[in-house]
Point group: C2
Chain length 344, copies 2
DNA sequence: AACGGTACTGGAATCGTTTCCAGTCACAAC
DNA sequence: GTTGTGACTGGAAACGATTCCAGTACCGTT
């Protein structure tokens, strides 16, 4: 009886390499992993054989024995939005350079999120978890503790418990409000963005609004604050609501550029001009902000990812001098959507 | 001598569970992995103990024995751009549901890309590779073959060799051109986008331009075609070049919405109106397109990711009826940036 | 020539699973 | 009371690496 199945080519094992190089298993392992106590000649022999057959060690076997996984889980609530993508790019680039693999977990809605923390799909698969852009709740923290020996850090979101890299939201908001107030605006609206799938947190960007108004002795008008989900269309709808108040605002402070983009459409569709009739400012410096001449508070998302990953490496390597709380600066970028209010 | 180190809590092993449940190793394994031939009572006992101690099997050990990794590598040239992020979301959601882990590899520039294909960091770590949004060259294909038994598929980019999910670029381009031609435009410019880090491929979106003009009996003017990198600022610069030709185009066909956004800024900054002086159309239906009232050809990026992942699952499960070439439809979305040319 | 030391080397034991194989047990059939 | 059957079970042998331990060979000393 002929066997019909062609012999499936098999990945080589360390034993194969050792045999072909005419050395023992231990020696082959040491030669390949760069340990001392291998004579140069032997090492070369092993490396040559390995290279010739394009051999690489089986990471799973290696990790089973060694204990550490060489992987990091990155958990993010959005992937298609600039801020998250940029952070992810930053994280990935430094981890890849250090030979870590990135396991991606998207927790878009509440259901995803609950399931992630309940089932912990990354359990026993990673050395660390980087949480991108959302606060981890108390119950979720306890759940994460089941992942023994796993470091947790946060990127792009303030966090009291875990090491983190973020911007100072309060400061960014004050920069924005300061700019508007400095131009002479007094009737300033805020489009407050929240994540509807997440527990309501008092955000620094919102606090900045109230603090700034208060510092300027301006009495806040509740009708000028509308709350909506992040996103352009949401911003547009929120702006429509703002345009329905009896006395229009002369300026709008939006929690993010994308929200501001939407608001800009509504303003212009209503026949009003920017900045002559209404000024508007965002936060982010999204790549499209410059295309729309939007004045904004710039934050470097990629950098936050890079710094977070570097922080993580420092922690994993037990480097004593690793900072565990890094704040990335933000800058006011003045373009053409803000100007002094018209003299009334 | 007291030992100073606190006993580090250890992950439980299957042996621990088996002992605590009072069963043998094999039985515990069978009970946990849902195999038959375990009495209901025994199974319950094991599962209860496992749940009580929050035990999960070590994936690395399990995979070492079983052979399959349960992981898929996703390779993408950009993460912070909408199209790639959306595809990634789609891929991740279906893979996660099927208990696959996603290993993310970002190959931003040529150097990253070369290094990825030379060093194959995903080697022996995944069951499949999904290439997102770029064509794989011949040499790279050969390199991928070193990953024995690994399925390769492509998402969001046409591909002759691997199973793939994509839109029909030629058709999308013709839809765009058809719209402009139908409005009566004859002097149509094209902003052709390419990836400077990648080998020049004749793109369907470009071919559509020439074919459409030819079909309409319009003689193409080489001065009306400019080539640039993808991106808003690049689109803006390209448009500036187009505005410098002696006889202005009455319409612009941009290879993508982001490029169109940039072009729109340039047009308006030059004091021209859209669509009265110049019409413009893009491709993508980027979330911001509606905010800018941009007429465009809509493609569903997330869907492409979903379909690609489903295709991959079908292939991995050896389902006979798995399609290996899926084309996702595109639709013309008319907004306010296109209109008939002014009567001259 | 015996000895100690250095510099390598080979192989066994191990990591935590899965899977296979040889039982064990209860029960029905003869 | 055997015997056969089927349902379950326990434990050994993998999987492919790393690491430890016990050698071996060779060198320079005495």
């Amino acid at each position: 009886m002929l066997d019909m199945d062609a012999e499936q080519p098999r990945e080589l094992t360390l034993a194969d390499i050792a045999r072909m190089a005419g050395v023992g298993l231990g020696t082959a392992s040491r030669a390949l992993s760069g340990m001392p106590n291998v004579s140069p000649a032997t090492r070369k022999k092993v490396l040559d054989v390995a290279k010739k057959h394009a051999y690489v060690v089986s990471p799973d076997a290696s990790r089973l024995k060694k204990g550490s996984t060489g992987r990091v889980a990155v958990v993010a609530p959005h992937l298609s939005r600039w801020f998250f993508g940029a952070i992810l790019e930053g994280i990935e680039s430094v981890l890849r350079e250090s030979q870590f693999d990135v396991l991606l977990y998207h927790v878009g809605n509440l259901e995803d999120r609950t399931s992630f923390f309940e089932r912990l799909p990354a359990r026993r698969k990673v050395d660390a978890v980087i949480v991108v852009g959302f606060p981890v709740e108390e119950a979720e923290r306890r759940s994460l503790e089941l992942m023994l020996g796993v470091q947790v850090i946060a990127a792009g979101g303030q966090h009291e418990v875990y090491p983190h890299v973020c911007i100072d939201d309060l400061k960014a908001g004050r920069q924005a409000m300061g700019h508007l107030l400095g131009l002479g605006h007094e009737r300033i609206a805020m489009i407050e963005a929240i994540d509807p799938d997440q527990p309501r947190q008092p955000s620094g960007r919102s606090r900045a609004y109230h603090v700034a108004l208060n510092d300027s002795g301006i009495k806040p008008d509740p009708a000028l604050v509308v709350t909506t989900a992040w996103g352009g269309e949401q911003g547009a709808a929120a702006m429509a609501q703002l345009l329905s108040v009896s006395e229009l605002p002369t300026a709008v402070y939006a929690h993010s550029d994308e929200v501001a983009f939407g608001a800009m459409r509504t303003i212009r569709d209503a026949g009003l001009r920017i900045p002559e009739d209404i000024s508007i400012i965002g936060i982010d410096d999204h790549p499209h902000a410059s295309l729309l001449h939007l004045t904004t508070i710039k934050q470097d998302a990629r950098l936050q990812g890079v710094l977070a990953a570097q922080m993580l490496l420092g922690i994993l390597r037990h480097e004593e001098d690793t900072a565990v709380s890094v704040t990335v600066d933000t800058q006011l970028v003045i373009r053409r959507t803000t100007a002094a209010p018209r003299p009334s």
